[in-house]
């Protein structure tokens, strides 16, 4: 088929070209009188606008009488100019970028070597400052900052401190601060990030101004930076937060807190926040840090208006796994006709006690996959008694097939819940 197609296309193309030639010849004969008329007209015009005349002539002489023809020709010329200029641009751009990339790579490698000498060998800070005195352009400074940040983020202790000293000694913090005054928002962002990573406080005033910026990303980043650079009120922003606090921001804050070893507050303080996303953040932090003291407040959240908050309250209680909260969850399970029933059982399975075994067994006949499965896990998690019970149910002949499958699933060690 492929070969046939090729021939057909070739044939069509040939036909097309051939008929073009034929037609062109015929047209010549017919339109001689017309063209002489036009050519006379051209002689009357001035030379300076010759090119335009040429086009007018082209449009009027050879094409049917239609005032749009000239427009088409102009558009075609624009297209062709676009094509050529794009080619030229792309190539020059490519060369430019290749050059920059090469220089970046070389400089990065050199700088890493020098810094290693300073960090791990006997080169002193003064010697290294002399070596780096040729770092005087923005381009070079940015690369050096990049290398320093990379090392700073991966090391701790004295090494980290030495990197910070070098950063300040080379006055790179001034360079980072200058970025805060840039008109480009992404350069501002970069400046903030650099200052916050290197713990340089000299830009704080400017960053405080950015806190009220109209740009969403800048505003959020400034919050993050201030958590780190103004350690006396790190979590004040949580009180002031009115907009929803997206998971992405929460992840960033989490990382910051962990990486910087910022002292953790009692997150139960924010469980009453009017901003539901702040409550959820607090719950997540409590879950991660296992701040067990806050379980009583969490239990109250089981009756919260917002369903997401209720959901996270259930999950958090499950993760903490305190036996005293089981009765609240069971109560919630029995009253609420809601979508969270499977979730409640899942949480309960982490605090299952022998006294609740009959409750879970009764759930096995429930017609919901997830509830059945989680009840099995709950029974299994009770320990030896639970395992015995599961095997017992499994061996009763007229046990429902679905229940048997759930039990087998739970008993298989390779299945992870």
């Amino acid at each position: 088929m492929q070969n046939k197609l090729k021939y057909i296309i070739l044939l069509l193309l040939l036909l097309f070209v051939f008929s073009l030639i034929l037609k062109a010849k015929n047209n010549d004969n017919i339109e001689t009188t017309d063209s002489t008329y036009y050519s006379i007209a051209i002689h009357d015009n001035y030379y300076e606008i010759e090119s335009e005349n040429f086009l007018t002539e082209l449009a009027n002489k050879t094409l049917p009488k239609n005032k749009y023809n000239i427009v088409f020709i102009f558009i075609i010329i624009i297209f062709i100019i676009t094509i050529i200029s794009v080619v030229i641009f792309i190539y020059s751009f490519k060369l430019f970028i290749a050059g920059i990339d090469f220089r970046k790579k070389m400089l990065k490698s050199d700088y890493t070597d020098y810094i290693n000498e300073y960090l791990f060998a006997d080169t002193s800070i003064d010697e290294i400052s002399v070596i780096f005195s040729n770092v005087n352009t923005k381009f070079r400074k940015n690369i050096l900052i990049g290398v320093l940040i990379e090392l700073y983020m991966n090391f701790t202790g004295d090494t980290q401190k030495n990197i910070q000293i070098l950063y300040k000694k080379l006055k790179l913090d001034i360079h980072s601060e200058e970025k805060l005054s840039s008109k480009m928002w992404n350069i501002k962002l970069l400046g903030m990030k650099e200052l916050s990573i290197m713990q340089a406080k000299r830009g704080n005033k400017k960053i405080l101004k950015i806190l009220n910026s109209k740009n969403d990303i800048l505003r959020k980043e400034s919050q993050l930076v201030l958590v780190k650079l103004l350690p006396f009120v790190p979590f004040a922003f949580l009180d002031a937060l009115e907009k929803p606090f997206s998971l992405w921001e929460q992840i960033n804050i989490y990382n910051l807190i962990i990486n910087e070893n910022i002292e953790q507050p009692e997150y139960s303080l924010w469980l009453n926040s009017k901003n539901n996303s702040v409550v959820i953040f607090a719950l997540r932090m409590i879950m991660d840090l296992r701040q067990i003291d806050s379980i009583n407040t969490i239990v109250l959240l089981l009756k919260h208006k917002d369903s997401e908050v209720r959901k996270y309250a259930i999950i958090t209680l499950g993760k903490i796994g305190d036996f005293s909260t089981a009765k609240h969850l069971i109560k919630m399970y029995e009253t609420e006709h809601c979508i969270f029933k499977p979730l409640i059982i899942k949480s309960l399975s982490k605090m299952s006690e022998p006294k609740n075994i009959e409750f879970f067994v009764s759930l096995l006949s429930c017609n919901h996959y997830e509830i059945r499965l989680q009840s099995c896990y709950a029974i299994k998690n009770i320990g030896r008694i639970g395992l015995v019970k599961l095997n017992e149910i499994l061996n009763i002949e007229n046990t429902d097939k679905e229940i048997k499958k759930s039990i087998l699933h739970v008993l298989d060690k390779l299945n992870i819940n």
Binding site: T112, I115, N154, T159, N255
Partner: protein, 122 residues
């Protein structure tokens, strides 16, 4: 003492190599798990340091290959990040002897290496 360092970040790779070289070890570096696995087949190392997340073959699989496929017993140190504790446990199960969490102190790394090498010689 020959040490293989496998890490995909070039700056870190250079820094660690330099530091350990100063400590008097003979260092071979590999940019990814694939190169590392080839080197381990062809040469003998006294210790391997590997990052957790790397292109081609990640830290786990490298450890797994060293222990299961190549049947080599040299000590392995895994580099991981904060928040990846679970993977550390998995790494230890897979056959790593020790781990160190980034960010770390370079001196701590040296000490751990020393201890492992001494332990392995006994």
């Amino acid at each position: 003492m020959k040490i293989l360092i496998c890490e995909d970040d070039e700056i870190m790779l250079k820094a660690i190599s330099f530091k350990l070289n100063r400590d008097g070890y003979e260092i071979t570096s590999a940019k990814n798990g694939k190169i590392a696995s080839e080197m381990i087949i062809s040469q003998d190392f006294d210790l391997v340091i590997t990052d957790h997340l790397m292109p081609y073959i990640n830290g786990f699989e490298l450890i797994n290959m060293i222990r299961q496929e190549f049947k080599k017993t040299m000590p392995i140190i895994m580099l991981s990040r904060i928040g990846q504790e679970e993977s550390v446990v998995e790494a230890l199960k897979a056959g790593a002897d020790d781990y160190i969490t980034k960010p770390f102190s370079p001196n701590e790394l040296s000490i751990r290496i020393q201890k492992l090498i001494i332990k392995n010689q006994k």
